[in-house]
């Protein structure tokens, strides 16, 4: 990189003053070369930036409009959840963990509760499992509707976001009327759910689901069929299936690359998915468009699943027999579920006390981000926004 403007001289051959002059000249050359740094520009995207869904920082080395190398720096939002769970009793932990993926609301609590129930040897009654599944799917719908509105914004089309927000309100209202919280329901209890459903909830939820389906059709018109959206997304950020699996991707990111894997179907679970008639959506292309498309179909599918759940809701108790003070017996348990962002798992180690000994939280977005350096190499700067949007991570999920 340095330009040879002085000829090579053996420094011991010349006298002192000349030696100093020689050294000063070389230093001056080096300084000019550093100041004129013409080999690429280092652009620091974030932590405060409209494209990075939160406090994510990406240090990108650019050559003109092409990215030579990109490195995500996470941790700006680390809240120490795994340590905090060690000083909370088991029922208190659910208030904490539904803030990890703060748009997926109910879905965060479920794997932890299932792990604790496994350690305690209790099983929630069928009605509770059905209610849990319904709220889980509604959390998925709320989460992915945000994605469907937000990805066009990253590409420049500001309007679909408002339609997504407007129609998402109906789903959030239903979650709130059942649990008391739109984003942080804290409705799971070890052994079941906290309350039964309010009167009229089933009918209102079905009409909310119909609105969700109408919204999906509107998105198909406005976004999926839009030529500019397609030309921005097709062929951008292609993840081959084996690379995706090697990096530990999960959820729609992997299904968008054609991998037919969904924990709701492929893993036995006490929740009600096995009783429903539904389909796993995949897309063979593996680019940003296919990830958007798969998530759109998933929202529609989830709304149909909620309808089925509400139709087949069994009668019965909503809480199993558990002691008032919950002391989970000693043991280890790992439960993972298909959360809206991907696979989320909780590894709970209990020593028989009121609080867990250690909870390791495996979040989907953290693993999804690991592919970013590989994926962003050689793309244009505008494609950074497209790819990050299509991978869909939530900062709370990455940093916990």
């Amino acid at each position: 990189m340095s330009t040879e403007t002085t000829t090579e001289v053996d420094i011991n051959d010349i006298d002192e003053v000349d030696q100093l002059r020689y050294v000063a000249a070389r230093a001056a050359d080096a300084r000019v070369n550093i100041e004129l740094e013409t080999e690429g520009m280092t652009l620091n995207i974030g932590p405060q930036h409209p494209a990075t869904h939160g406090t994510l920082r990406i240090v990108a080395r650019l050559d003109g409009e092409r990215v030579i190398q990109a490195e995500p720096i996470m941790g700006y939002m680390h809240r120490g959840y795994e340590k905090l769970t060690e000083v909370r009793t088991y029922p208190q932990v659910t208030t904490l963990i539904n803030r990890i993926d703060w748009v997926g609301s109910f879905a965060n609590e479920v794997p932890f509760i299932l792990a604790s129930e496994e350690l305690m040897g209790v099983e929630a009654p069928p009605r509770a499992q059905y209610i849990r599944t319904a709220l889980f799917e509604m959390g998925r719908i709320a989460n992915i509707m945000l994605f469907l509105g937000d990805m066009p914004v990253q590409l420049g089309g500001v309007t679909p976001l408002f339609y997504a927000m407007r129609d998402r309100e109906f789903v959030l209202n239903q979650i709130e009327s059942a649990t008391g919280g739109r984003f942080h329901p804290n409705f799971n209890r070890i052994g079941g759910v906290k309350d039964d459903l309010p009167a009229g909830w089933i009918k209102e939820t079905k009409s909310a689901m119909q609105r969700v389906r109408d919204f999906c059709d509107e998105m198909d018109d406005l976004v999926t069929g839009n030529e500019i959206f397609q030309s921005r997304c097709r062929g951008v950020g292609i993840i081959p299936a084996d690379v995706g699996k090697a990096y530990g991707l999960s959820g729609a990111n992997l299904r968008g690359s054609g991998v037919d894997w969904d924990l709701r179907r492929d893993q036995p679970s006490p929740l009600a998915w096995k009783d429903l008639d539904w389909k796993v959506w995949t897309h063979p292309d593996g680019d940003s468009f296919s990830r958007f498309w798969v998530r759109l179909q998933e929202v529609r599918e989830s709304s149909l699943m909620v309808d089925q759940i509400l139709d087949g809701l069994p009668a019965g108790p909503i809480m199993a027999k558990v002691p008032r003070i919950i002391k989970v017996p000693a043991g280890e348990s790992y439960v993972q579920t298909e959360n809206p962002l991907g696979v989320m798992g909780y590894y709970v180690i209990s020593k028989g006390e009121l609080t867990p000994f250690r909870v390791k939280i495996r979040t989907a977005s953290f693993s999804n981000m690991s592919i970013t350096p590989w994926l962003l190499e050689g793309v244009y700067v505008p494609d950074i926004a497209t790819i990050l949007a299509s991978l869909y991570f939530i900062l709370g999920d990455i940093d916990r």
């Binding site: 089309g157 500001v158 976001l161 839009n226 505008p382």
Partner: protein
């Protein structure tokens, strides 16, 4: 000036021209900002927009003006102060120069140039310099990226813009804007019908010249914050903002003059005296129609990537506009 107004001293006339010029630029700008940016955008996004300042938020622009006035004047460190400060003025200069040749009536114009549209196209390119000055003078990598993208984009879309206008010029037989408007009356129908292809290319080109979505790579909000305008605050940002909407207003007015018949209304003689007073109003209505199209596209579409944008201009729009010229010329000679 119209012969109706009595003889004024030169200095009085200059002051009047200056004031009318300011009004001619700022009034449509304010109207467009309120109507389209605040209200139409909000209604399209199923929300209401500003409602507090004045009835239905009509004084919101005044409130924004006051807000920008009282902000701190920030210069980024190591920014080139002169270049940084001069950039918004360069952009505004090109807008005010554009307004000079707009005819509002048979005699209601500032300057009646025989090369009216040629002057307009040439002067509209001056804003490119302003944008590049803003991008470079801000001493920020984001702004630099935005400025360079703008340079490439604006230069690329100058060509389809000019070529789409050439079709109109061939049909009218003159570069004089007043002559073009009167030629539309003579032809019997506004040029938008025979020059439909030219009109579409014109619309796309001014969308790109104004750096509006889907061509807003220089201001790509989700990547570059605000592109070349990132480091500007307070009054300087307001100048850019006014420049953006004023240029939209003026380009829409030029489009209305070229394609929608300017100040003429059907069944009324275009060169009659009364049109000097009604003409500007008619032109304003037509300008709003075209601006509606511009802002409708802005709010609906995501943005093109820079290479897709360039490909669209060089490989698609320029051949299409050349085709338009050839067809127009053939029709003009044969019929």
């Amino acid at each position: 000036m119209t012969p109706i107004i009595a003889e004024l001293a030169y200095w009085q006339e200059t002051v009047l021209r200056g004031l009318v010029g300011l009004v001619a630029v700022l009034l449509p700008t304010g109207a467009l900002v309120y109507m389209f940016l605040f209200k139409m955008m909000s209604f399209m996004q199923s929300r209401l927009g500003p409602m507090e300042a004045g009835p239905y938020g009509q004084l919101q622009l005044l409130a924004e003006f006051g807000k920008f006035l009282q902000k701190e004047d920030i210069f980024p460190s190591k920014a080139d102060r002169f270049v940084f400060a001069a950039a918004p003025f360069v952009v505004l200069v090109s807008t005010f120069l554009l307004v000079l040749v707009l005819p509002g009536g048979p005699d209601a114009h500032f300057v009646d140039l025989n090369t009216g549209i040629y002057f307009a196209m040439a002067v509209s390119s001056v804003s490119v310099i302003g944008i590049m000055m803003a991008g470079w003078g801000s001493n920020s990598k984001y702004s630099l990226l935005g400025g360079i993208r703008a340079a490439g984009q604006l230069i690329a879309y100058e060509l389809p813009l000019v070529l789409s206008v050439v079709g109109v010029v061939i049909m009218a037989g003159t570069l004089n804007l007043k002559g073009i408007v009167l030629a539309q009356s003579d032809f019997g129908i506004w040029f938008i019908i025979p020059q439909f292809l030219g009109f579409l290319i014109f619309l796309v080109s001014i969308q790109a010249e104004l750096t509006q979505p889907p061509f807003d790579m220089p201001v790509a909000e989700s990547e570059l914050v605000t592109g070349y305008m990132t480091e500007y605050s307070g009054i300087r940002f307001l100048l850019f903002f006014i420049g953006e909407f004023a240029t939209a207003a003026v380009f829409s007015a030029i489009g209305a003059t070229l394609f929608l018949g300017g100040w003429t209304i059907p069944f009324v003689d275009g060169s009659s005296e009364i049109m000097n007073w009604i003409g500007p109003l008619v032109l304003a209505v037509k300008m709003v129609l075209i601006a509606f199209l511009i802002f409708w596209f802005r709010m609906t579409y995501p943005r093109f990537r820079e290479d897709q944008l360039q490909r669209l201009a060089w490989k698609f729009l320029i051949p299409l506009s050349l085709l338009n010229i050839v067809i127009t010329a053939i029709f003009k000679v044969v019929f």
